[in-house]
Amino acid sequence: MHLDIQIALAGAAAGALYVLLASGLMIQFRSSGILNLGLGAVATLSSYIFLYATGSWGWSTPIAIIVAIIAGAVVCGSFQLLVVRPLRDSPMVAKIAATIGLMLTVTAIVVLWFGSLSPPPGSLFGQNPVSLHVGHPAFVLGSNRIWFVIITVVITVSLWATYRFTRFGRATRAAADNQAAAESLGYSSQRLELTNWAIGGGLAAVAGICLGTITPPSSTSITSVLLVAIAVALLAKFQSFSIMLIAGLAVGAAQAIATFQSAALQSATHLSGWSDSLPLIIIIFAVLIGGRGVAGKGGRIEPALPDAPVVRRPLLGSGAVAAISLAWLFVAPGWLVDPSVVTMISFIWALSVVVVTGYAGQISLAQLTFAGIGAYIAAKTAVVWHLPFPFPVLVGGIVAALIALVVGAPALRVRGLNLAVVTLGIAMVADVMFFADTSITGGGNGLTIPPAHIFGLNLNALNHERAFGVAVLAFAVLLGYGVAVFRKRPMVARMLAIRSNERGATAVGISAARTKLIAFTIAGFIAGIGGSLEAYREIQVSWTSFAFFSSLLLLGFAYLGGITSISGAMAAGFLLSGGIVTALFNFQGNAAEVVSLIAGLGVILIVLMHPEGIGALPRQLIALASDRGGTRVKHSSVHPDGIARSVTVPAPPAQQRTS
C-alpha cells in the first residue's frame, strides 16, 4: 500500500504535464472551436529546441527556455493567422485535416532539422529524491517532478485568474460564447483568437520542455500524450482549469498504478495495456455521456463538405484505370512495383474514408484499425483454416465490417469533432490492447501469413511482386467500381442528406442511425479488404501500419487527395507513405520526411484553397475546357413543362400506386 501511494504520487506529478498540454488545447479550442491535433508536435519542437540549445549549442538555460517557448507561441500564432482564421467557415473535417497538416509539417521539420533520434534528456531540475516529510517511511519525489507540480499549479492559477478577472479573459469568454456579439461590442475576435493560440503554443512548449527533462518525446509518443491531454480537457468539458488540474493529476496517478500493477491487471482481465488505455476509455465515456440521440438544433449551420461527384460511366472509368494500371504493372521498373502495390492498397484505404466521411460526413479516425483487424483475421483464417487466397481477404473484410458496425455505434449519439475524438480513442485502445498484445497478434514480431497462390499461380508478394500486384489491382478496381455504382444509389443520397442536415433528414423519414451504420459498415469492409491485402504484401504482418497514428495520417492524406471523390482516393493512394510518390523521392536519404513535409503543407494549402482535393483537378480542368464550348446545365435548366431533364439523381421511386 505504501508503495502504491508512492507510485501514485510520482504518477500524479508526471500527470502535471498533461494539465499543461490540456490547458493549451482548451485555450485554443475555446477561442476557435478547433481541437489542435498538432499541438503535440509543437511541444516536441520546443522540447528539441530547448534540449539542443542547452546541449550542443551551448546556450544559457534561461535563453533556451525563452526561445523554446517563443517558438511554440510563434508556430501556433502563425498557424492561427494563416490557417485557423480563414477556416472559420469550413467544415469540421477540414479543420481536423488542417491540424493533422500542422502535425505532419512540424514533425517533418523536427526530423529534418534535428534528425530522427531523440536527444538525451536535459537535466534542468535534477532528479534528486526529495522527502515529502509525510508517511512512514516518508514519501519521496524526484526534484524534477516537484518542479512539474509547482510550475503547473502556478500556471493553472494564473490562467484561471487571467481568464476570470482580466479584460482579455472576459472578452475571450464572451467571444467564445458569441463571436458576433463580442465583435459588435468592439472586441477584435481575430486578435483574441491569435493571442489565445499563441498562449496555447507557449503552454505546449512548457510541457515539451518539462517532458524533455524525463523522456524527450517522439512524434508518435507525443501523440499518445496529446490524447491523454484531450481526455483531461474533456473531463473538464473544455471549461474549468481547476477540474483540469485535478483530472490531470488523477489520470497520471491512475496510469502509474496501472503500470505498476499491470501483471495483476492482465491476469485478472486477460487484457494488457490498461495503463495506456485508461485515459482513452475516459475519453470514450466522457464524450458518449454528453451525446444525444436525435440531432439537436445547431447553433449555426455546419458548413458543407465539397460535392461528391458522380462517375457518369463507372464501367468505362474503372476499365480504363484497370487497363492503364495493368500495363504499368508489367512495364514498371522493379523498384517501383512494390510502391505501386502500396499505392493501390492506400487507395483502398482512402476509398473507405470517402464512403464514411466524404459521403456520410462521419469523421472516423479508426479506419486503419479496421484494416488491421482485416489483416489479423486474414492471417488467422489462412493459417488456422487453411483458406486459400482470396478467401481470407474477403473474410477479413467481412469481419472488419462487423467491427466497424460496432465502432460506428457511437456515431448515433455523437457528431463532428466528438465522433472524431471517440474513434481516435477506440483506435488507440485497439492499438495498445489488441495489436500490441504479443499473446494475440504476435505484437512486435507480428504474424506470418502464407504467401498467396491462386490456380497454381504464385502470388508471393516477396518474389512475384508483379503477379501479386495484379491481384491487388483486381480488388482495387472492383472496389472503386463498386463505390462508383453505389454513389448513384438512393442510399448515398440519404448519406449526403445526413451529412448536410441530420435534423432535416430525420424529419422526412430517413433513419440517421441506419444510414450512418451502413456507411461505417461499408467503409469498414473496404478498409478490411485493404488491410488483408496489406497482410499478404508484408507476409510477416507488422501492426505498426495499422497504428492510430496512421489513421490520423490517412485522414489528412485523404483530404489532400479529395475526401469526397474516388479520384481523390486515387490521388491519396499515390501520396500516402510508401507509395509511388515517396518512391520517386527516394533518390535522397530523408525521402519520408520530405514527402511528409510537402504533404503536411499540402494538406493545409488544399484545405485553404482547394477543398475538393488534388484528385478533382483533372476533372475540373476538363469541365473548364468543355465549359467554354457549351452552356452549363445550371443556367439552362428551365423547361417549358417545369421538370428539369438534366438532373443527375435518380427519379422518384418506382413504387407506383395504381390509383
Binding site: 424529419a507 423519414g509 438534366s646 421511386p653
Partner: protein, 251 residues
C-alpha cells in the same frame, strides 16, 4: 380560460375523425417548464392553427409531437397508435412530418436532390405526386439549383415542398411565413389550401395573424406553455382575453 368550440351546423352532423390526440404533454428543460399538460386534438382534413407569443412553447410542442424532443409526461396518439416513444424518423414514415423554423435544408444539394431524398424515404410518394408538388410550388425551373443559391423565400418553399413530397398524413409547419413578404405569404396561403384539398391535414404554427386566421378551421392559442384558448378563428378574434394578451397590438 379555455373555450370549447361551438360546433357549426356542418360539423355537428358528422363527428370529425381525430387524427392526432395529444394528452397531458409536459416538458421540462432543467427546471423551466416549457409545456404544462397540453391537450390538443387535430381533426382529420382540417387546417389547425397554433398561435402564441414568443416563448409560449410552440416550437417545443412541435418538437415533442414529431419526436425531436422527449416530453417529460404525456402521450401522443397518431392515427390511433401511440407514437410517444417512437424515433422521429419512424413518425415521419408513418406520415407525421414537419418543417423547421430554420428550414434545415440540405444546402449543398440541389432542389431536386432535396426532394428526391425525401421522396425515396416515403412509401406514399409516387412520381405523379412528386410532379404535383413540384408544380404546386412552381419549382420546375429551380430543380438543378443548389438550395444554397436560392433566396430565403424560395428556400422556405423548398423546405415545405420537401416535407410534402413524402405525402404526409399530417404536416406540421413551423412558422412557414417567417421572413416572407406580403405577396409571398398570400401565395403560401393559396398553396396551403391546395395541400388541404389534397387530403393532407395541416398544423400551421405562425406569427402571421392574417395567415393563421384566414386559413385555419380551428385555432389553438398557447400561452406560457399551456393551452390558453381554442376555437374557430372568429371565436378567437372575439375572445377578449386572447385580444388582451396577444392580439392587442394588432386589433
Amino acid at each position: 380560460m379555455t373555450l370549447t368550440p361551438v360546433p357549426s351546423a356542418k360539423e355537428s352532423t358528422v363527428t370529425p375523425e381525430v387524427l392526432l390526440r395529444v394528452a397531458g404533454l409536459s416538458m421540462n428543460f432543467g427546471g423551466v417548464q416549457a409545456l404544462k399538460s397540453v391537450d390538443l386534438v387535430i381533426a382529420k382534413g382540417s387546417l389547425h392553427g397554433i398561435i402564441g407569443p414568443n416563448g409560449a412553447g410552440k416550437s417545443t410542442l412541435i418538437d415533442a409531437i414529431t419526436g425531436f424532443e422527449r416530453p417529460s409526461e404525456g402521450t401522443i396518439v397518431f392515427m390511433d397508435s401511440d407514437v410517444s416513444h417512437m424515433a422521429p424518423h419512424i413518425r415521419a414514415r408513418q406520415g407525421l412530418t414537419r418543417t423547421f423554423q430554420n428550414l434545415e435544408l440540405y444546402l449543398e444539394l440541389t432542389v431536386n436532390e432535396n426532394l428526391v431524398v425525401a421522396a425515396h424515404a416515403s412509401k406514399r410518394c409516387n412520381s405523379d405526386w412528386f410532379e404535383h408538388v413540384v408544380t404546386t410550388f412552381h419549382l420546375g425551373g429551380e430543380l438543378s439549383t443548389k438550395a444554397r443559391d436560392l433566396s430565403h423565400g424560395r428556400r422556405r418553399i423548398v423546405s415545405l415542398a420537401r416535407a410534402l413530397v413524402t405525402r404526409p398524413v399530417l404536416l406540421i409547419l413551423d412558422e412557414p411565413a417567417a421572413g416572407l413578404d406580403t405577396h409571398e405569404t398570400k401565395s403560401l396561403g393559396l398553396s396551403l389550401r391546395q395541400v388541404v384539398r389534397d387530403g393532407i391535414t395541416v398544423v400551421l404554427v405562425d406569427h402571421d395573424m392574417s395567415l393563421v386566421m384566414g386559413e385555419s378551421h380551428m385555432v389553438t392559442v398557447l400561452e406560457e406553455g399551456s393551452v390558453f384558448a381554442e376555437g374557430t378563428p372568429s371565436q378567437i378574434v372575439a375572445n377578449e382575453d386572447v385580444r388582451r394578451i396577444y392580439l392587442g397590438g394588432e386589433h
